[in-house]
Symmetry: C2
Subunit: 348 residues, 2 copies
DNA sequence: TTGAAAGCGCTAACAT
DNA sequence: ATGTTAGCGCTTTCAA
């Protein structure tokens, strides 16, 4: 039987309201009394029941974190950073996984609504309208997608995709495939838009393949389509698909980057572990998690401060991208100085 | 302002207790009345407040999941499976990360205690005594370690380590290093015990290196020690360390498996993505997550059913293990039929 | 500075 | 089958 505020009151010879104040409004209670109370509480192992407190204050000190797929390596660093940051501010975090299902997203937000002070919606696949409606039930911060009227944290993937395309074009590629991501993904649309524009600007051709589930399997599944398209380079929606594609190409005896260059997006942990190591666009996922928590918690104070935080991305050149057929002249294959420490140890 | 049970009562012209029953004890209420109530609730967007309900029932329908490191690829599949399984039974999951710090573990359990019906403690680094004490505050299920008197789910890593050692010895290795894991890890002790025994049985020598943090970096950091030890094979505490070691050996020009064989443990997603693909001991992490949730939830009914569930492991032979110096005769390098589908596509 | 009393949203006896 | 009442653990007026 856990100790309640009443047990502490009895033990320290004061009224429950004094105990309450000793914990939640220390300045309203005599220092000596407070010391007594705290000592008694300590002795009894008393800890305030946050749920009971929430019932009256309306603040649960919990937040919800809803992601598309916990096992997708993109998310764990974000979850970890968000949880750690939230805990530092005395918030606990419910984590839930939608399995990329928009229907589950809504149900999850509604189910958590009463138990949290707000929800971080990461890479949602719902419509803007649905999201706006949900935000009337519980404060929402959207990650990886801007929603008009709501606070959001996004990564500048368009910038990343442009850098990736310029990198490929610079290497002499003129026929490039874009391995598209999931339907309903804002990130996917951004990438596509930026890649299309970059291709047009550079006079290159862009073949769009998709939409696809953002998994290794669907990356592999598109290998045939990539080969049929006759391109010399591929930009993938994420690292997972890039890796799946590389594997499938490998099994077909197609060499990366010798015959086909492949560039990923996200710079997840696996990009440094594959061979060849993956050239990819680094997205600051941990920073995004922390920023989203901050927005959610400060959002309580100044309401309707509908901010949009955009985090920068950068191109990390490793070994999966190499010279293309239209290469004219020039320097070594690196078009930019290596950004990542490990990349400089590439062995070719 | 979210609708409360009173709003629904008013709207449907019945007393609040009837509304309550309509939701939590349907058989006690007239079907017609219930339909009315449910319709009114639907209209108002009413959802029972679980925290308020918990205050009186004592059951929160929440569980806590505490892991050593969310970003360690071992955990996401476990978290995902546990969360999904729990949600299927109408439970929400708090996830927290201790960063491998035993002090944080205790604080976390205590902080969550009042808000959950139980906590899944994954790979805890605390002492048994501490864990037992904590279990008086809140029901605990321990994963990856048996604790006397408490329900637990463990993997038979001893069996896995034995298989791995036999595999290496069978390949002709007689000097083998064990890359130890973190201090306080039961899994680490099990592996060490089993590996030591297997080495003795086979007349091989086992050099134990460690303890180490279970990270890629510390795997890399032990490369020198491995070379100095003059062994021809290494069994690592986990895939992460195995991969780190392979990388570091590679940078030194040492070929795996030609010069040194490396075997990991866990069969995380990365084991299939590294080159060479990692020979490793597969641990059923998703199953462990589900089993732990089941134990926690059923534990409520039949108390003190201190069960220990042990899940089997198996050796997955891929490309990072090869013939050793003492190889006598025999068949191709595969000592066992490949267990994993991908392994059969290994290209040598 | 502290106590008394009301009540957050809900369930659980106990009546009827 | 439904209404009444009390109260879960806590905070917060309002008095004193």
């Amino acid at each position: 039987m856990p100790a309640t505020i009443r047990d502490v009151a009895k033990a320290s010879g004061v009224h429950v309201s004094t105990v309450s104040r000793a914990f939640s409004a220390p300045q309203l209670v005599n220092a000596e009394t407070r010391a007594h109370v705290l000592a008694a509480a300590e002795l009894l192992g008393y800890r305030p029941n946050r749920a009971a407190r929430a019932l009256i204050t309306g603040r649960t000190h919990n937040i919800g974190l809803i992601v598309a797929d916990i096992a997708n390596p993109f998310f764990p660093p974000l979850i970890k950073a968000a949880e750690s940051h939230a805990r530092g501010r005395d918030y606990h975090v419910f984590v839930a996984d939608t399995n990329e299902d928009p229907g589950v997203e809504e149900e999850l937000v509604l189910a958590l609504a009463k138990q949290v002070d707000g929800v971080l919606l990461c890479s949602p696949r719902m419509s803007n309208t649905q999201i706006e409606q949900l935000s009337r039930e519980v404060p929402l911060v959207v990650v990886n997608r801007p929603v008009p009227g709501l606070p959001a944290v996004v990564m500048d993937v368009a910038q990343g995709a442009r850098l990736a395309m310029e990198h490929l074009v610079g290497l002499g590629h003129r026929e490039i495939a874009l391995l598209g991501g999931p339907r309903g993904s804002w990130t996917n649309r951004e990438i596509r838009r930026a890649a299309t524009l970059a291709a047009r600007t550079a006079g290159a051709e862009l073949v769009v393949l998709g939409p696809n589930a953002p998994t290794e399997e669907s990356g592999s599944a598109q290998a045939e389509a990539v080969l049929r398209a006759g391109v010399s380079a591929v930009l993938a929606y994420n690292d997972l698909m890039a890796v799946g594609l590389i594997d499938a190409l490998d099994h077909r005896g197609v060499k990366v980057p010798d015959q086909i260059s492949v560039v990923g997006i996200d710079d997840t942990a696996l990009s440094r572990r594959t061979r060849p190591m993956l050239t990819t666009v680094a997205t600051p996922t941990a920073a995004a998690g922390r920023a989203a928590v901050d927005m959610l918690l400060q959002h309580g104070d100044d309401r309707r401060t509908t901010a949009l935080v955009t985090l920068q991305t950068e191109l990390v050149i490793r070994d999966s991208s190499g010279p293309g057929p239209h290469r004219t002249a020039g320097p070594g294959r690196r078009q930019q100085p290596p950004i990542d420490g490990v990349a400089s140890e590439s062995r070719e």
